[in-house]
Symmetry: D2
Subunit: 263 residues, 4 copies
């Protein structure tokens, strides 16, 4: 990112932006807000940043390991200079995309390190990683969302913090203990935050994505029906809808699944 960005208008922060859900969410929110995209590597967000900027929107990326305290701190030092006059920006929306993908493993084969440590390789994300990421992102972004509330004009939408969950957020399946422990913990935290910050005017929501998302990484995953994978655009549309709800009428939780999914 160039240090020259200064936004007087409200912005959106999207954590976890690769070529899948994060990109769709970024594209959707970029129609109204400048978007700040966070991913571990620049490679992950580069294409969508370019696409949004080419299309007349504004997007910047900041490489961030959301489960690493120092990394998140550095990122928010930068973000906190993105506002008018190099001050804190108005943050209208923050989205934490799904941390981790599932690891199925017999419990006795799971190591303590796998359960407690962040892994570098994709899809090897520990319980603790999910929680650290959830905590750190929420902890840094909530003060900005709280502040935005104060400056929001009448016709704008309440500040919104959205967490992306999964089937494993509500079910502890056999051999999915590590993933489920992390996702349940993240959901518990999101529920607690909804109850604490809702009355302060910040909309905290959690979504349960119950099925395979139709993204490049899952292209070859077989499902019975050709349209049996969840559309990332539909997820983005739902998140936008959540963001537009007035504070009289906050949704805490939605689920989404393909019509053909068994549940």
């Amino acid at each position: 990112m160039s240090s020259s960005h200064q936004f007087s208008q409200p912005i959106a922060i999207i954590q976890g932006v690769g070529p899948g859900t994060g990109a769709s969410v970024a594209r959707k929110f970029a129609a109204k807000y400048p978007v700040v995209l966070l991913s571990r590597t620049e490679k992950s967000y580069k294409d969508i940043v370019d696409e949004i900027n080419a299309a007349g929107g504004t997007a910047i990326g900041i490489p961030t390991d959301v489960a690493d305290q120092e990394s998140v701190q550095k990122t928010f030092e930068k973000i906190n200079q993105l506002g008018e006059g190099g001050g804190k920006p108005k943050v209208a929306t923050a989205v934490l995309n799904g941390l981790g993908t599932f690891v199925k493993k017999p419990f006795l084969d799971l190591t303590y390190d796998e359960f407690t440590t962040a892994y570098e390789s994709p899809g090897r994300v520990s319980t603790s990683y999910i929680e650290r990421g959830t905590f750190l992102f929420a902890h840094h972004v909530l003060p900005l969302l709280l502040a935005y509330k104060g400056t929001a004009s009448g016709d704008s939408h309440p500040p919104t913090l959205i967490f992306t969950g999964a089937t494993a957020s509500i079910k502890g399946s056999a051999q999915f203990g590590s993933f489920a422990a992390g996702k349940w913990a993240a959901r518990a935290l999101s529920q607690s935050l909804a109850r604490e910050f809702g009355p302060q005017g910040v909309h905290v929501a959690h979504s349960i994505i119950d099925g395979i998302i139709d993204i490049p990484r899952t292209k070859d995953w077989h499902v019975e029906h050709p349209d049996g994978k969840i559309s990332p655009e539909a997820i983005a549309d739902a998140y936008w809808h959540l963001h537009t709800q007035p504070r009289t009428s906050f949704t805490y939780e939605i689920d989404m699944r393909p019509y053909s999914e068994r549940w």
Copy 2:
């Protein structure tokens, strides 16, 4: 209604239309579809029918006691002639608004009749009434929704059946046994229908309205915050969002509550 109505385009059917949520839902869906509004008395839907027609939309009302088998049958005989050439219409959406309002009463003071029989007076709606209404509406409208799927063109939305629930749909509070029994039963049925008809392409959704809705009837109900009642327009917006979801990405359940609600 005049028998001369014949719609070649898809329509929406809204059950439970008074000056509150039903009217907002009708207004919202009328922007795209002709709407057929059902209420026990003509008085309940007259104003919104007039308003929609005056605004350039199309609305008709049919007096219906949704918990009365014969009444529902008669209504659907009429509806089934609303399509092209006096045949069955294409039904894109059907919404069953909240049956019953809560009755708080010590269990031992509750009579068997109150638990099992439909009451005429507003707000006195038995467990059985809620279920009969839910069954009858779903039973008559699902064949139409299934048929619409077949005739829907590519850019249209999947046929959608939405049930309006309440706090009592998920909690059996003390002295609310009769209301809760009915609302849990309706939710059970909606969940079963989502699982049966989802794979057939019909989107079945349930919403939990957790708080007081801001309608004429609750005008004088005190809540702590001036904006502490749920907006019926926001409910309508959420229902419209549900309707627009592609079948890759159906939401079964959302909740909605004021930011200030304790839960």
Copy 3:
């Protein structure tokens, strides 16, 4: 039953006593209390009544259709003369065994009558039947349980009302809508009663029996493992354990399933 029975000691009332769970529950509670057994036909409870009496316990049966208002009323007129001096008996425990067995049926093939009316043939029990039975039994037995609390001596167990649920009490599976609607409604009512009568010292509990019970009727039902059916004696043991809990420590809900059950 002979009208000559008069019990000065507390009794237990078991509804739904055939050769399965009800018989095991009756046998278990008969070790401490005289038991009053209710079933639609004398044939259902005759064997277990004889067995308990032959073994030195005391059991009487009263034919009762628990979903029929008049029948339940008559039964409780008799019960209300079973106490000392022909007055009301002390009732320490009341158990409502599982009303209905599941009916799997496509929703559009289900008739309104099937959904709303009690059926005579075994296994054909409507939503409404389940609820009427739950309401009527609870309504008649709660005053007796409340009264017992007053007369209970220090070392006795709090009066207990136990409802037997099923998988369908918490899941609305496809084509099980009618059964699920009834079971969810019964659970809602039991939860409401627990919240209303718990503070008055009556222990209300609900059990979720998640699997096939090993009774004569299911003898030929195939399960993968030879010990893959739930033991009715184990259910009875659990109910007895619930009954012995002090009021400092009431369990509202337990589930039970075979070790081999998928859930």
Copy 4:
């Protein structure tokens, strides 16, 4: 502990033994099994060890920080020599008592360290601590429980692993995010283990203790009713009941609360 202990009979391992629930559970299981008690400090288990031994039972204690990998490893090296001939013992039951007590704190005042690190002072237990403890205890004890199954004679009870939860295991209340995240994660893991190890014959159960337990530490905590705290003996009785269930009829979850508790 003296290294001379060798048990040919099955034993029970109770983690988290102070003067409260753990002591009651130890006392209860000591009636049938030698018990091995784990606590961070010898002081915590000394009294109950002495009491059980004086009463003719057998108890030994091993100081263990259940959230410390090395500490747990050392403890189980000792335990694994407690069997016949200095080999692995038969373990019939393992109980993990409630890790952590609640910390209520505004989310923005919570530090990253508080969320992620184990604290020494009582009642200051982080999310991560709860999970590490749950993982480590389960990971070390499950191989012993699995092995016991093989040596169990016909009339013994299936090997049982019980987790003690709390209200925060199912509700993320405002300002309880850290505690709830840990307890939800522990429940997720227990549910996953129940599904993985149940079919292998190990009974995994979770209990939700919804209220204040009546132990020395809570002696001065005010509740409205004199008998409004949960009895630790009743918890122990419930755990014993769970342990006695045959594998045809495993309970995964029970809740317990005072009759006077609002929920």
